[in-house]
């Protein structure tokens, strides 16, 4: 199975600041995704990180709030901008393998905004 790592694993931030989360995959992948898991909730897709082009955002998520970079086929970053306490969540990246037969997730970044 693939190994997906994320940095940082957790952070506590002040409102109004920004945090950049890194996601590293141990092999090249075509697609990478970013999800949010709010406290006590299930996962919601934020966006698809496209290599060489702008990310594709899901309804309710915008680039100004969640800018995403995908400089190569193994790495992506998600920035949570101008944070408020409502942004306190676990943020996870994922990538499909073997076509879509498998999809693995990173360990997540637990963000608390004060």
């Amino acid at each position: 199975s693939a190994v997906i790592s994320q940095k940082p694993s957790r952070d506590i931030c002040q409102r109004g600041t920004s945090l950049t989360i890194q996601c590293q995959v141990d092999s090249q992948v075509t697609m990478m995704f970013w999800y949010r898991q709010q406290p006590g909730q299930s996962l919601t897709l934020i966006a698809t990180a496209n290599q060489g082009s702008e990310a594709t955002y899901e309804s309710g998520f915008v680039i100004d709030k969640f800018p995403i970079s995908r400089p190569n086929l193994t790495f992506s970053t998600l920035t949570v901008s101008n944070m408020s306490p409502e942004d306190s969540s676990i943020y996870l990246c994922s990538a499909p393998f073997q076509g879509y037969n498998e999809q693995f997730f990173g360990p997540g970044t637990r963000l608390t905004v004060l």
Partner: protein
Amino acid sequence: SQELEQSPQSLIVQEGKNLTINCTSSKTLYGLYWYKQKYGEGLIFLMMLQKGGEEKSHEKITAKLDEKKQQSSLHITASQPSHAGIYLCGAGGLSSGNTGKLIFGQGTTLQVKP
């Protein structure tokens, strides 16, 4: 209402007992993924089903996708405390093909009493 409904929402079983978790949609499921999540951690990929009537096993966990591809069940045989966690189903597509962008159910929390 949820596009993907899981039942039950929570479950407490005695060690050694069997249990079943269901994941249901009113639409056709394309790519049905099962994950286990320990509290506050990342998702562990269990298995993916895509063909109507398909059944897969991973250790003592068996998952099935019904013939109509609108319901999947996850069955754990002889449960152990290590099975405790949150089980999540995710669909790669509803009514159309698997896009890799997962829509999740709300999760089922499993406790196994020794």
